[in-house]
C-alpha cells in the first residue's frame, strides 16, 4: 500500500493547520491560558502528561511505521512462511517496566496536587474570603456569608489571594467551572463541596479583567447557556465594592425608573427577585443588576437585550424558571422601557 504515506502526511498537515487556526483559545475561557495558581498547577500537570504521551506515541509510531513498511508481503513471496515466534521475555519485561516508570513520573505530581487542591483547612479562618455558591436551574447565586451580601451571575473576587468556595445546588446537579482559573467541582444536591481558587492580577489584566464561568454538568435544556462571569478586583477595590454593596439601597432616580419600580412590584417580579443586597431568593438578586456584564449570563448587557429578555425569556433560555411566571405578552413597550430603566439603574458602583 503506497497510499499510506501521502495520506498520513496530508492528514498531519491538515490537523496542524487546524491547530494553528484555533490557537490556544480565548484568554477568558481557555484552560490552556491559565490565570491563577490552581489553573497553573493543572496546566503544568497537563503539559507533563502531554510530554509523556508524546514519548509513548512516538515510540509506538516508530515501531509501527518500520513494521508496516519493512514486512509487507512482496511480489514473489506469496508462499513464504515466516518463522513462528512464540515471544520474547526480555522484550516483554522492557515494555512492562518502562510504562510503569513513565506512569510513576505522572503519579507523584498527581497525588500531591490532589491533596493540595483539596486543602481547605484555612477556610475557617476569620479573614479567609469565603463564597457560598448555589447553583440553580440556569443561574448562579454567590453569597458572601461573612460580609452578609448576596449577588448573582457575576462573581466578584479579590486577586492574588486564595478564595474559598462552598458549593451546593438548589435543584439538580450542576458543576462550577472557570476554565482559565481552575478545574471544576460539582454542585451536588445532597452535600456541600469545598475548594479554593486563586486569581492572578497580572493575567486578569491581560484577559481584559473578566473570565467566563460555565456549568459543566448536563442540567436540562439551557445547560449550554448557564454561563456566569468572574470579575477579579484588586483587594482595595474589592473591599470598596463590598462596602458599597452593604450600603446599597434600591433607589429609582428618574421618573421613568419610578414607574419601572411600580411595574416591578405589580408584575410580581418582586416575588422572586430580591433587590436588597443581603437577601437570597428564588431568582437572581438584582441589587447590583446595573453593574452586570451580561444579562441572564447569555446576552450582552444592553438595554435592548434586557427588554428582549423580559419580553420573552423562553426565547433566550429555553426552559428557564422565569418563563411563564408573569404576563410577559401583556407588557407594552412603554412598560418595558420603564422596567429597563429601573433595572439598569440598580447599581452600587459610582
Amino acid at each position: 500500500m503506497k497510499k499510506w504515506l501521502p495520506n498520513m502526511r496530508l492528514f498531519s498537515l491538515f490537523s496542524f493547520i487546524a491547530l494553528l487556526l484555533a490557537g490556544c483559545g480565548e484568554p477568558t475561557v481557555s484552560a490552556l491560558r491559565p490565570a491563577g495558581e490552581v489553573a497553573d498547577m493543572q496546566y503544568d500537570l497537563i503539559m507533563l502528561a502531554v510530554w509523556i504521551m508524546v514519548v509513548v506515541i512516538a515510540v509506538v509510531t516508530v515501531i509501527f511505521i518500520y513494521v508496516v513498511f519493512r514486512f509487507r508481503r512482496k511480489k514473489g513471496e506469496e508462499n513464504k512462511i515466516p518463522k513462528q515466534v512464540e515471544g520474547n521475555h526480555t522484550l516483554e519485561i522492557i515494555w512492562t517496566v518502562i510504562p510503569i516508570l513513565l506512569l510513576l513520573i505522572l503519579v507523584v505530581p498527581t497525588v500531591s496536587a490532589t491533596f493540595k487542591l483539596a486543602d481547605v483547612k484555612a477556610m475557617d479562618d476569620k479573614d479567609a474570603l469565603v463564597v457560598n455558591v448555589t447553583s440553580n436551574l440556569y443561574w448562579w447565586e454567590f453569597e458572601y456569608p461573612n460580609q452578609k451580601i448576596v449577588t448573582s451571575q457575576d462573581l466578584i473576587v479579590p486577586t492574588d489571594e486564595k478564595v474559598y468556595f462552598n458549593l451546593i445546588s438548589s435543584d439538580v446537579k450542576h458543576s462550577f467551572w472557570i476554565p482559565a482559573i481552575g478545574g471544576k467541582l460539582d454542585t451536588n444536591t445532597d452535600n456541600t463541596n469545598k475548594f479554593w481558587l486563586e486569581f492572578d492580577s497580572e493575567r486578569t489584566k491581560d484577559a481584559g479583567g473578566i473570565f467566563y464561568g460555565k456549568c459543566a454538568e448536563l442540567c436540562g435544556p439551557s445547560h449550554a447557556l448557564m454561563d456566569f462571569k468572574v470579575k477579579p478586583l484588586p483587594r482595595d477595590e474589592f473591599d470598596k465594592w463590598i462596602e458599597n454593596m452593604q450600603n446599597a439601597k434600591a433607589e429609582a432616580k428618574t421618573d421613568l425608573a419610578k414607574a419601572g419600580e411600580e411595574l416591578f412590584k405589580n408584575n410580581n417580579c418582586i416575588a422572586c427577585h430580591a433587590i436588597t443586597p443581603g437577601d437570597k431568593s428564588t431568582a437572581p438578586n438584582l441589587a447590583n443588576f446595573g453593574d452586570r456584564s451580561s444579562i441572564a449570563g447569555r446576552l450582552t448587557f444592553t438595554e435592548d437585550n434586557l427588554k428582549k429578555w423580559i419580553k420573552d425569556p423562553e426565547e433566550v433560555k429555553p426552559g428557564n424558571k422565569m418563563s411563564g411566571s408573569y404576563d410577559n405578552k401583556g407588557l407594552t413597550n412603554e412598560e418595558l422601557d420603564a422596567l429597563a430603566e429601573y433595572l439598569m439603574g440598580l447599581s452600587v458602583e459610582d
Binding site: 497510499k3 495520506n7 487546524a18 487556526l21 484555533a22 490557537g23 490556544c24 483559545g25 480565548e26 477568558t28 481557555s30 500537570l45 497537563i46 502528561a49 504521551m53 509513548v56 506515541i57 509501527f64 513494521v67 508496516v68 514486512f71 509487507r72 513464504k80 512462511i81 515466516p82 518463522k83 513462528q84 515466534v85 512464540e86 515471544g87 520474547n88 515494555w95 506512569l103 498527581t110 497525588v111 496536587a113 493540595k116 487542591l117 483539596a118 445546588s169 439538580v172 458543576s175 467551572w177 476554565p179 478545574g183 471544576k184 467541582l185 451536588n188 444536591t189 445532597d190 456549568c215 459543566a216 448536563l218 442540567c219 435544556p221 445547560h223 449550554a224 454561563d227 447569555r298 426552559g319
Partner: protein, 622 residues
Amino acid sequence: MSTLTQKKGFGAVLWDYLTTVDHKKIAKLYLIAGGFFFILGGLEALVIRIQLAVPDNNFVSAGFFNEILTMHGTTMIFLAAMPLLLGLMNAVMPLQIGARDVAFPFVNALGFWLFFFGGVFLNLSWFLGGAPDAGWTSYASLSLHSPGHGIDFYVLGLQISGIGTLIGGINFLVTIITMRAPGMTYMRMPMFTWTTFVASGLILFAFPPLTVGLLFMMLDRIFGTGFFRVELGGNTIIWEHLFWIFGHPEVYILVLPAFGIFSEIFSTFSRKRLFGYTSMVFATVLIGFLGFMVWAHHMFTTGLGPIANAIFAVATMAIGVPTGIKIFNWLFTMWGGSIKFTTPMHYAIAFIPSFVMGGVTGIMVASAPADYQYHDTYFVVAHFHYVIVGGVVLGILAGVHYWWPKMFGRMLNETLGKITFWLFLIGFHLTFFIQHFLGLMGMPRRIFTFLPGQGLEAGNLISSIGAAFMAVGVIVFLYNVIKTSINGPVATADAWEDGRTLEWAIPSPPPEYNFKQLPLVRGIDPLWIEKMQNKKGMTPAEPLGDIHMPNSSILPLMISFGLFVAAFGFLYHPDGKAWSLPVIILGAVITFGSMFLRSIKDDRGYHIHKEDLQGDDKEVRA
C-alpha cells in the same frame, strides 16, 4: 445449506429466524439489529454535528438536542456496539473452540430477543412523548427532575435488554468452560475466544449493579420511593456509583472483544502466530480485573475527597501497563511476518495508532487534578471516541469484513472495502482530534449550542466535516454488502487462505451442526498446524455418529415480548391510566406463561443421522 434456505418462501425464512436457536443465525440477527441501531445512532451523531457546526445554530431545539445526545450515547453503547460484538462472538466463538453450538441455545435466542425488544421499547419513546434527555449516564437528580416519560423508557428499556446481555454472557462463559473440542485447552484457545471469555465475565459482574441502579430509578420515578430523593433522605451519589461500577467495566466489555478480533487478524495476515500469547492472555485477564477497581475516575469532580481521588487515579493509570503489553505484542506479531494488506488488515493496522491516542488521553484524564479541567468537556468526548471508534468500531468493521465470508459464504469487495476504510479513518480523525483542543479551550460537553467569540468556531466546523466523511464511508460499506450479496464471489472454507483457527476448517457458511466430527486440537492455531504438515483439514477426534441438535422455539420471543408489553403498563402506571394494570398482568402472563410452558414441556432436541451426514460430504471441501 444456504441453497436450502433460498428455496424456502419468505414466510418460512422469517419463521425460521424468529424461532431459531442456532448460534449462527442468532449471530446474523444480532448483526442486523445492531447494524440498524448503529445507523440510527450514527444519524443521531450527524444531527449533533450539524447543530454544532456553527455557533448559535438552531437546527434543533435545546430540549430535542438533549434527547438526541442521550439516545446517541445509549443507542451506540447498548444497542449497537455491544450487540454487534455479541453477534461476532456468536458467529465465531463456538467455531473457534470446535463446538457444535453454545451451551444453552434456547437462552442464546432469549438473550437476543430481550435485547431486541428492550431496544425497540427504548426507541419507541421518540413517538410516545419524547426520548430520555438526561445523558446516557442519566444522573439521578436530573433524571428525577425530567418531566414526561423519556427517562422511564430509558430505565425499562435498558432493564430488559440488560437481562438479555447478562444471560448471553453466562451462556458464552459456560460454552467456553465445558464445550471445547478435545485437545483445546485453555491455553490453546484463540485470542478472540479468550477475550470473549473475559468480556463475558465482566458482563456477569457488571450488569447486576446496573440492574439494581435501574431498579432504584424505576421505583423512585414510578412508585415514589426515596433512594435518590434528597428530601426523603436519599442520596444521588448512589446512582453515580452504581452506574459507574457498571459503566467502567462496560467500556472494557466493548474493547476486549475488539482486541481479540485484531489479534486474530494480525496473526492471520502476518502469517505468524500471535507474539507473546501467554502474556496477552494474562494482560486480558488483568485488564478485566483492574476494570472493577477504577470506576470512581468518572467521579473525580463529584467531591469524593482527595484520598479516594488519589487511589482511583493511581489504580486507573495501572491499566495502561497491560494495555501497553498488548499493543507491543501486536506490533511484534507483525515484526518479521509477511503482511498482506487486506481490508480487515487495514483496519487492524489503523487501529494501533488510533487506539494508542485514545488510550494515552485516558491516562491523562486519569490524573485527577488535571481531570478537574478535562471532565465534562470535549476533551473527554475526544478521549472516548478515540478508544471507542478507534478501538471498538474499527474492531467491529474489521471483524465484519474478516468473518463475512465465513458467515455469509460470499467475499466482500476489497476495493470498496478499502474505500470505506479510508473515508471512515480520515473522517474519524478529522472529527475527534480537534475535539481535544475544543475541550481545553473551554467547551463543555452536552451543550446544544455555543456562543460566538470564544474561539470555538473553527474546531467545531472541522469536526462536523469529519462526521460527513464517516457517513459516506458507512454508505459505501452498505453498498458493498448489497452488491456482493447479489453477485459476490463465493467463499471457500479457508476464505483468506491464511486461516489459522478452527473456523476456517469448515465450509463457509458452516453447516448447521458446524463440525461433522469434532476436531482433534494439537496446539495453538490448530488449522495452521495441520496445514504446515500438509494435511487437508483437521483430524477428527471422534467417529462419525448421530448429531444431537436443539429444537427451534418461538418461546424466547414470547418471553421477551411479554416483558415488552408489561413495560408499557409500568410506564403509564403513575399516570393513573386504568388500563395500565391489566397490561402489566397481560405481559406477565405472556412471559411467565411461556416460561412455564418451557419448563413443563420437555425439549430433547432431535438427531441428524449418520447416514444423512455422509450424504453431505459432497458439499464439504477443505
